[in-house]
Amino acid sequence: MNDSDKEFEQRAKTALDSGVTNLDAATRSRLAAMRAQAFEHQPFWSRWLTFDHWMPAAAFATVAVLTATLLLLPSAPDATAQLALQESDMMLEVLFSENELEDVGDPDFYVWLDFALLEEEEPDHAG
Protein backbone atom coordinates (compact mmCIF):
# COMPACT_ATOMS: atom_id res chain seq x y z
CA MET A 1 0.00 0.00 0.00
CA ASN A 2 1.50 3.30 -1.05
CA ASP A 3 1.13 6.75 0.50
CA SER A 4 -1.60 7.68 -1.93
CA ASP A 5 -3.66 4.65 -0.82
CA LYS A 6 -3.14 5.58 2.81
CA GLU A 7 -4.20 9.14 2.11
CA PHE A 8 -7.34 7.90 0.36
CA GLU A 9 -8.18 5.60 3.26
CA GLN A 10 -7.72 8.42 5.74
CA ARG A 11 -10.05 10.61 3.72
CA ALA A 12 -12.58 7.78 3.51
CA LYS A 13 -12.37 7.28 7.27
CA THR A 14 -13.02 10.97 7.89
CA ALA A 15 -16.00 10.91 5.54
CA LEU A 16 -17.41 7.82 7.23
CA ASP A 17 -16.98 9.42 10.65
CA SER A 18 -18.87 12.45 9.37
CA GLY A 19 -21.71 10.16 8.34
CA VAL A 20 -22.02 9.01 11.96
CA THR A 21 -21.67 12.48 13.41
CA ASN A 22 -24.50 13.62 11.20
CA LEU A 23 -26.88 10.77 11.87
CA ASP A 24 -30.44 12.05 12.13
CA ALA A 25 -31.98 12.55 15.56
CA ALA A 26 -34.51 9.75 15.12
CA THR A 27 -31.80 7.17 14.43
CA ARG A 28 -29.66 8.40 17.31
CA SER A 29 -32.57 8.21 19.67
CA ARG A 30 -33.49 4.75 18.45
CA LEU A 31 -29.92 3.53 18.98
CA ALA A 32 -29.87 4.94 22.52
CA ALA A 33 -33.19 3.26 23.29
CA MET A 34 -31.90 -0.05 21.94
CA ARG A 35 -28.81 0.24 24.12
CA ALA A 36 -30.92 0.82 27.21
CA GLN A 37 -33.15 -2.09 26.28
CA ALA A 38 -30.17 -4.42 25.96
CA PHE A 39 -29.32 -3.75 29.60
CA GLU A 40 -32.91 -4.12 30.75
CA HIS A 41 -33.14 -7.65 29.41
CA GLN A 42 -29.75 -8.93 30.38
CA PRO A 43 -29.40 -11.24 33.37
CA PHE A 44 -25.67 -10.80 33.83
CA TRP A 45 -25.79 -7.80 36.12
CA SER A 46 -27.90 -9.75 38.59
CA ARG A 47 -25.02 -12.13 38.97
CA TRP A 48 -26.47 -14.10 41.83
CA LEU A 49 -29.30 -15.20 39.58
CA THR A 50 -27.04 -16.70 36.93
CA PHE A 51 -26.67 -20.44 36.56
CA ASP A 52 -22.94 -20.22 37.26
CA HIS A 53 -23.61 -18.95 40.72
CA TRP A 54 -26.39 -21.38 41.48
CA MET A 55 -24.51 -24.40 40.22
CA PRO A 56 -22.50 -25.11 43.43
CA ALA A 57 -25.64 -24.75 45.54
CA ALA A 58 -27.59 -27.02 43.18
CA ALA A 59 -24.80 -29.63 43.27
CA PHE A 60 -24.71 -29.52 47.07
CA ALA A 61 -28.50 -29.88 47.28
CA THR A 62 -28.44 -32.87 44.92
CA VAL A 63 -25.77 -34.63 46.97
CA ALA A 64 -27.68 -33.90 50.18
CA VAL A 65 -30.92 -35.33 48.77
CA LEU A 66 -29.16 -38.46 47.51
CA THR A 67 -27.43 -38.98 50.86
CA ALA A 68 -30.69 -38.53 52.75
CA THR A 69 -32.44 -40.95 50.41
CA LEU A 70 -29.81 -43.61 50.97
CA LEU A 71 -29.81 -43.14 54.73
CA LEU A 72 -33.58 -43.24 55.00
CA LEU A 73 -34.05 -46.27 52.74
CA PRO A 74 -35.94 -49.08 54.52
CA SER A 75 -33.57 -51.75 55.78
CA ALA A 76 -35.60 -54.58 54.18
CA PRO A 77 -35.91 -53.88 50.45
CA ASP A 78 -39.10 -54.98 48.72
CA ALA A 79 -39.37 -57.99 46.45
CA THR A 80 -38.56 -56.14 43.26
CA ALA A 81 -35.45 -54.61 44.77
CA GLN A 82 -34.39 -58.01 46.07
CA LEU A 83 -34.79 -59.56 42.62
CA ALA A 84 -32.79 -56.75 41.08
CA LEU A 85 -30.05 -57.26 43.65
CA GLN A 86 -29.98 -61.00 42.92
CA GLU A 87 -29.64 -60.33 39.21
CA SER A 88 -26.88 -57.86 39.89
CA ASP A 89 -25.06 -60.37 42.07
CA MET A 90 -25.33 -62.99 39.39
CA MET A 91 -24.01 -60.66 36.71
CA LEU A 92 -21.14 -59.65 38.95
CA GLU A 93 -20.29 -63.29 39.60
CA VAL A 94 -20.26 -63.92 35.87
CA LEU A 95 -18.17 -60.90 35.11
CA PHE A 96 -15.59 -61.66 37.79
CA SER A 97 -15.32 -65.33 37.02
CA GLU A 98 -12.73 -65.98 34.28
CA ASN A 99 -14.27 -69.27 33.17
CA GLU A 100 -17.77 -67.95 32.87
CA LEU A 101 -16.65 -64.76 31.17
CA GLU A 102 -15.62 -66.84 28.17
CA ASP A 103 -19.23 -67.96 27.87
CA VAL A 104 -20.53 -64.41 27.57
CA GLY A 105 -19.83 -64.43 23.82
CA ASP A 106 -21.87 -67.60 23.35
CA PRO A 107 -25.58 -67.04 22.44
CA ASP A 108 -26.52 -70.14 24.42
CA PHE A 109 -25.16 -68.41 27.50
CA TYR A 110 -28.05 -65.94 27.45
CA VAL A 111 -30.59 -68.78 27.16
CA TRP A 112 -28.98 -70.36 30.17
CA LEU A 113 -28.95 -67.02 32.02
CA ASP A 114 -32.69 -66.52 31.49
CA PHE A 115 -33.30 -70.06 32.66
CA ALA A 116 -31.14 -69.59 35.74
CA LEU A 117 -32.91 -66.37 36.65
CA LEU A 118 -36.30 -68.00 36.27
CA GLU A 119 -35.13 -70.84 38.47
CA GLU A 120 -33.98 -68.40 41.12
CA GLU A 121 -37.30 -66.62 41.02
CA GLU A 122 -39.66 -69.61 40.82
CA PRO A 123 -37.79 -72.85 41.64
CA ASP A 124 -40.92 -74.99 41.05
CA HIS A 125 -41.27 -73.97 37.38
CA ALA A 126 -37.75 -74.86 36.45
CA GLY A 127 -36.47 -78.25 35.39
Partner: protein, 186 residues
Protein backbone atom coordinates in the same frame (compact mmCIF):
# COMPACT_ATOMS: atom_id res chain seq x y z
CA UNK B 1 -11.30 -5.50 49.61
CA UNK B 2 -13.01 -4.99 46.26
CA UNK B 3 -16.69 -4.23 46.33
CA UNK B 4 -18.40 -6.64 43.88
CA UNK B 5 -21.50 -4.48 43.56
CA UNK B 6 -19.39 -1.43 42.77
CA UNK B 7 -17.30 -3.48 40.37
CA UNK B 8 -20.42 -4.66 38.55
CA UNK B 9 -21.69 -1.12 38.32
CA UNK B 10 -18.38 0.06 36.86
CA UNK B 11 -18.32 -2.85 34.46
CA UNK B 12 -21.87 -2.11 33.34
CA UNK B 13 -21.07 1.55 32.89
CA UNK B 14 -18.02 0.69 30.83
CA UNK B 15 -20.06 -1.55 28.59
CA UNK B 16 -22.68 1.15 28.17
CA UNK B 17 -19.94 3.58 27.18
CA UNK B 18 -18.51 1.04 24.79
CA UNK B 19 -21.86 0.53 23.09
CA UNK B 20 -22.54 4.25 22.96
CA UNK B 21 -19.22 4.73 21.23
CA UNK B 22 -19.69 1.98 18.68
CA UNK B 23 -23.42 2.03 17.91
CA UNK B 24 -23.32 4.75 15.26
CA UNK B 25 -20.58 3.05 13.26
CA UNK B 26 -22.22 -0.33 13.74
CA UNK B 27 -25.46 1.05 12.40
CA UNK B 28 -23.75 2.48 9.31
CA UNK B 29 -21.87 -0.78 8.73
CA UNK B 30 -25.15 -2.70 8.89
CA UNK B 31 -26.85 -0.10 6.72
CA UNK B 32 -24.18 -0.45 4.04
CA UNK B 33 -24.71 -4.21 4.10
CA UNK B 34 -28.51 -4.15 4.05
CA UNK B 35 -29.31 -0.80 2.38
CA UNK B 36 -32.22 -0.63 4.74
CA UNK B 37 -32.42 1.52 7.87
CA UNK B 38 -34.87 -0.60 9.84
CA UNK B 39 -33.09 -3.85 9.06
CA UNK B 40 -29.79 -2.26 10.04
CA UNK B 41 -31.23 -1.08 13.35
CA UNK B 42 -32.61 -4.52 14.05
CA UNK B 43 -29.24 -6.16 13.38
CA UNK B 44 -27.46 -3.73 15.67
CA UNK B 45 -30.04 -4.30 18.38
CA UNK B 46 -29.55 -8.06 18.14
CA UNK B 47 -25.79 -7.64 18.37
CA UNK B 48 -26.10 -5.37 21.41
CA UNK B 49 -28.43 -7.79 23.19
CA UNK B 50 -26.23 -10.77 22.51
CA UNK B 51 -23.08 -8.99 23.63
CA UNK B 52 -24.63 -7.82 26.89
CA UNK B 53 -26.34 -11.11 27.66
CA UNK B 54 -23.59 -13.53 26.70
CA UNK B 55 -20.26 -11.77 26.69
CA UNK B 56 -20.43 -9.02 29.29
CA UNK B 57 -18.14 -11.00 31.58
CA UNK B 58 -15.36 -10.96 29.00
CA UNK B 59 -12.55 -8.45 29.36
CA UNK B 60 -13.38 -5.02 27.98
CA UNK B 61 -10.64 -5.20 25.37
CA UNK B 62 -12.39 -8.19 23.80
CA UNK B 63 -15.75 -6.46 23.38
CA UNK B 64 -14.97 -4.78 20.07
CA UNK B 65 -14.01 -7.99 18.28
CA UNK B 66 -16.88 -9.89 19.92
CA UNK B 67 -19.42 -7.24 18.98
CA UNK B 68 -18.29 -7.14 15.37
CA UNK B 69 -18.25 -10.93 15.16
CA UNK B 70 -21.85 -11.02 16.35
CA UNK B 71 -22.86 -8.22 14.00
CA UNK B 72 -21.22 -9.90 11.00
CA UNK B 73 -22.96 -13.17 11.84
CA UNK B 74 -26.28 -11.32 11.94
CA UNK B 75 -25.49 -9.61 8.63
CA UNK B 76 -24.63 -12.95 7.01
CA UNK B 77 -27.89 -14.45 8.31
CA UNK B 78 -29.75 -11.46 6.93
CA UNK B 79 -28.14 -12.00 3.51
CA UNK B 80 -29.09 -15.69 3.57
CA UNK B 81 -32.69 -14.85 4.42
CA UNK B 82 -32.76 -12.23 1.69
CA UNK B 83 -31.45 -14.64 -0.92
CA UNK B 84 -34.16 -17.16 0.02
CA UNK B 85 -36.79 -14.42 -0.13
CA UNK B 86 -35.50 -13.30 -3.51
CA UNK B 87 -35.67 -16.84 -4.81
CA UNK B 88 -39.30 -17.15 -3.73
CA UNK B 89 -40.03 -13.74 -5.19
CA UNK B 90 -38.62 -14.86 -8.51
CA UNK B 91 -40.60 -18.11 -8.48
CA UNK B 92 -43.87 -16.45 -7.61
CA UNK B 93 -43.15 -13.30 -9.57
CA UNK B 94 -43.87 -11.05 -6.63
CA UNK B 95 -43.84 -7.38 -7.37
CA UNK B 96 -43.48 -5.72 -4.06
CA UNK B 97 -42.70 -2.07 -3.98
CA UNK B 98 -39.51 -2.62 -2.16
CA UNK B 99 -37.92 0.46 -0.88
CA UNK B 100 -34.21 0.30 -1.54
CA UNK B 101 -32.62 3.07 0.36
CA UNK B 102 -29.74 5.08 -0.80
CA UNK B 103 -27.18 4.31 1.86
CA UNK B 104 -25.93 7.80 1.43
CA UNK B 105 -29.05 9.48 2.55
CA UNK B 106 -27.15 11.24 5.26
CA UNK B 107 -26.69 14.84 6.11
CA UNK B 108 -23.60 16.40 4.67
CA UNK B 109 -20.57 16.66 6.88
CA UNK B 110 -19.91 19.98 8.46
CA UNK B 111 -16.15 19.85 8.32
CA UNK B 112 -15.29 23.24 6.96
CA UNK B 113 -16.65 26.73 6.77
CA UNK B 114 -15.06 27.14 3.35
CA UNK B 115 -18.02 26.59 1.00
CA UNK B 116 -15.91 25.11 -1.82
CA UNK B 117 -14.07 22.66 0.44
CA UNK B 118 -17.27 21.80 2.23
CA UNK B 119 -19.07 21.10 -1.03
CA UNK B 120 -16.25 18.89 -2.27
CA UNK B 121 -16.19 16.98 0.98
CA UNK B 122 -19.96 16.49 0.90
CA UNK B 123 -19.74 15.22 -2.65
CA UNK B 124 -16.88 12.89 -1.75
CA UNK B 125 -18.84 11.51 1.17
CA UNK B 126 -21.94 10.93 -0.89
CA UNK B 127 -20.04 9.22 -3.67
CA UNK B 128 -18.04 7.13 -1.21
CA UNK B 129 -21.22 5.97 0.45
CA UNK B 130 -22.76 5.07 -2.88
CA UNK B 131 -19.71 3.21 -4.13
CA UNK B 132 -19.28 1.41 -0.83
CA UNK B 133 -22.90 0.36 -1.02
CA UNK B 134 -22.29 -1.08 -4.49
CA UNK B 135 -19.28 -3.16 -3.49
CA UNK B 136 -19.72 -6.90 -3.06
CA UNK B 137 -20.61 -7.66 0.55
CA UNK B 138 -17.27 -9.14 1.63
CA UNK B 139 -15.16 -6.45 -0.02
CA UNK B 140 -17.36 -3.78 1.51
CA UNK B 141 -17.27 -5.21 5.04
CA UNK B 142 -13.54 -5.98 4.97
CA UNK B 143 -12.86 -2.42 3.84
CA UNK B 144 -15.00 -0.99 6.63
CA UNK B 145 -13.48 -3.19 9.32
CA UNK B 146 -9.93 -2.55 8.20
CA UNK B 147 -10.15 1.15 7.40
CA UNK B 148 -12.90 2.41 9.66
CA UNK B 149 -12.68 0.08 12.64
CA UNK B 150 -8.91 -0.12 12.37
CA UNK B 151 -8.80 -3.90 12.72
CA UNK B 152 -5.68 -5.75 11.63
CA UNK B 153 -5.76 -8.56 9.10
CA UNK B 154 -6.00 -11.34 11.69
CA UNK B 155 -8.84 -9.65 13.60
CA UNK B 156 -10.74 -8.98 10.38
CA UNK B 157 -10.31 -12.59 9.28
CA UNK B 158 -11.66 -13.81 12.62
CA UNK B 159 -14.65 -11.49 12.51
CA UNK B 160 -15.44 -12.26 8.86
CA UNK B 161 -14.74 -15.98 9.33
CA UNK B 162 -12.43 -16.15 6.36
CA UNK B 163 -8.71 -16.57 5.78
CA UNK B 164 -6.19 -13.79 6.16
CA UNK B 165 -5.31 -14.06 2.46
CA UNK B 166 -9.00 -13.52 1.62
CA UNK B 167 -8.99 -10.40 3.78
CA UNK B 168 -5.99 -9.05 1.91
CA UNK B 169 -7.61 -9.81 -1.44
CA UNK B 170 -10.97 -8.26 -0.52
CA UNK B 171 -9.31 -5.20 0.93
CA UNK B 172 -7.10 -4.67 -2.13
CA UNK B 173 -10.01 -5.09 -4.53
CA UNK B 174 -12.26 -2.77 -2.55
CA UNK B 175 -9.56 -0.13 -2.38
CA UNK B 176 -8.84 -0.38 -6.08
CA UNK B 177 -12.51 -0.07 -7.06
CA UNK B 178 -13.18 2.83 -4.72
CA UNK B 179 -10.13 4.70 -5.92
CA UNK B 180 -11.15 4.19 -9.52
CA UNK B 181 -14.69 5.37 -8.87
CA UNK B 182 -13.56 8.36 -6.82
CA UNK B 183 -10.70 9.31 -9.07
CA UNK B 184 -12.22 12.72 -9.78
CA UNK B 185 -11.83 13.70 -6.10
CA UNK B 186 -8.05 13.33 -6.04
Amino acid sequence: MANPVGHDRDHRQRMQNFLAGIEGRAFRIAQFATRNRDDALELVQDAMMKLVQNYAQHAADEWNALFHSILQTRIRDWHRRQSVRNRFRTWFNWHEDEEVEDALEQSPADVSWDPAARLENDQFMQRLNRELGDLPYRQQQVFLLRVWEGMDIAQTAAVMQCSESSVKTHHARALQKLREQLEEFR
